[in-house]
Amino acid sequence: MLRRTETRRDALVPAACVAVLALVAIGAVLAQLLPQLDPLRADFQAPLRPPGPEHWFGTDATGRDVFARTLAGGASSIVVAAMTVAVGLVVGGGLGVLAGFARGWVDALIGTLLDVVLALPGLITVMVVVTMVGPGRLTIGALIGLIMVPAFARIARSATLTVRGQEFVQAARIMGAPPLRIIGSEVVRCVLPAVAAYSFTAVTVAIVAEGSLSFLGFGLAPPTASWGGLIAEGRTHIATAPWICLAPAAVLCATVLAVNVLGERWGRSRP
């Protein structure tokens, strides 16, 4: 009995998480396509409307639909998160594999460079650079990715070191397997899953960091919708119209939660 309910819950939770992420993604696409969901269309006749059949999540101070703006904010989060993971995987993963295989002074040099990045106050550094080079989803995503490079590199390096030391890799060397083929196939087999597991964490960090930047006013420029920006705008009306704040906040938290849970399952499913 107990076991059956356990297994059902085990399957249900990831399914729910995938559903949440799918809805956010579909919503983000629809917000770009459907004119009804234009996040900028303001209905000046209906400011600060509470949630109802016409405006599911209510309207903000200028009468813009909070639901449409929340969906559009999802698009920003997706683009930023994708960019973060891309930069982290390529730069961090590459440096980590290089450090793990070369060892010696290359490892020490890469380690020192990564320590420099690690010593930077992350959010403040991104804020400084954004004010100077201008905001943009890809810029912000790349910057967050760079800040996360040391974490990716550390994981890739230790996975590489593990691969190197494994006896079946040594056995392959003795059997005369071409070294580059061993490295190639083993990196794909061992290092990639380890780094991919960390990508879930990177996605949540990217979404939260982008939200934080927009919340602080250093993120995406105002017309572009962002969950953090929506929450910051709603803050002034928190006592009278809490939905402006709460709707995007709830969607943000649900998305991060879904990614966290999926990441944990992914990590647990691997030995």
């Binding site: 006896e167 079946f168 056995a171 003795i174 059997m175 005369g176 397997a177």
Partner: protein, 329 residues
């Protein structure tokens, strides 16, 4: 200097050291011995003796910090195809790729030698059957679906299929139950004996070594204490450490003689004692042992590194040629 002949392995004054937090470990401190073509040599040592570092240096997995290893007259190379060196590891499961099937694992050396897929699978299946694993049952399994003893059989089948001139086995039975050990030892013996290849068998277990090896090399803290034909070393050990080791080996039904060793603990390889490394534990130590490293001497057919070991009737006993010059049977 010995001139290498055939597929002879010549280890000459080999040194291996490792960087560890707090200094260097001199794991191997000038070890010389020879594995003549077609012979089986046992390398015996306890923890800290440097036997595993030696195995890695001989197979070229670590670079020696001094001395040399020569195989068939040249440096050790990792090249596919017959006639090379193969290795059997202590942890048989870890030495098999986790995702490949047993047939593909055994076929691995042929793959790097460029043998066509169908042909190498066919030969691998035959090799599996040869080590007692029905290819129809086990061929499609992976390493986590077999026992440790079976994994070691797979590893031996794989090494044998590469048709090496020398197999190096690093503690191949240490993790196995005694009821399984004998089978693995028999397979290893067959893998080399059938084709006249040689075997370097590394173990802490004198019992297994004595049954398998023509010659034995006893290591202590990175140096050779004694080496010679197994019969001679077992019957008349000259080095006090070899004697202590033989006394301590558990034998069924034998009430062990009281240990002759002083109570001193084995020293750490990080700080080996000066002179003869064994002197703090040696019941026969003399003053010279504390300062001077004993040079290898030939004593009654064996080569012994000990200040205190006396030649037993050296004039009458016929001096056989030293192990490196022994011809294969």
């Amino acid at each position: 200097m010995t001139r290498p002949r055939g597929a002879e392995l010549v280890v000459d004054r080999l040194q291996v050291r490792y960087r560890v937090p707090g200094g260097w470990i001199e794991a191997v401190r000038g070890v010389s011995f020879t594995v003549p073509a077609g012979r089986t040599v046992g390398l015996v040592g306890e923890s800290g003796s440097g036997k595993s570092s030696l195995a890695k240096a001989v197979t070229g997995l670590v670079a020696p910090s001094g001395g040399s290893v020569a195989f068939a007259g040249g440096p050790v190379r990792h090249r596919p195809g017959p006639g090379g060196i193969q290795m059997v590891f202590q942890d048989p499961v870890a030495s098999l790729h986790p995702h490949r099937t047993l047939v593909d694992l055994v076929a691995e050396p042929l793959r790097w030698a460029g043998v066509a897929r169908a042909r190498r699978r066919e030969r691998a299946a035959a090799a599996l059957a040869d080590v007692g694993l029905d290819p129809a049952v086990y061929g499609g399994r992976r390493r986590h679906q077999i026992s440790g003893g079976q994994a070691q059989r797979v590893a031996i089948a794989r090494a044998a299929l590469a048709e090496p001139e020398l197999i190096i086995a690093d503690e191949p039975v240490a993790g196995l139950d005694v009821s399984v050990q004998a089978g693995v030892v028999n397979l290893l013996h067959r893998a080399v004996a059938d084709r006249g290849a040689s075997l370097l068998f590394i173990s802490h277990d004198l019992g297994v070594v004595s049954a398998l090896c023509d010659e034995v090399v006893v290591l202590y803290l990175g140096r050779v204490c004694e080496r010679g034909p197994t019969e001679s070393v077992l019957a008349a050990p000259r080095h006090p450490y070899t004697r202590a080791l033989l006394d301590a080996v558990p034998e069924v039904g034998r009430v062990p003689p009281p240990s002759r060793l002083p109570a001193a603990e084995p020293p750490s390889p990080l700080h080996p004692p000066p002179g003869c490394a064994f002197h703090p534990r040696c019941p026969d130590a003399v003053a010279a042992c504390r300062t001077a490293v004993p040079a290898p001497r030939e004593l009654g057919g064996a080569v012994v590194s000990c200040h205190a070991a006396a030649p037993q009737t050296p004039s009458t006993e016929p001096v056989t040629s030293p192990p490196p010059d022994r011809s294969p049977p």
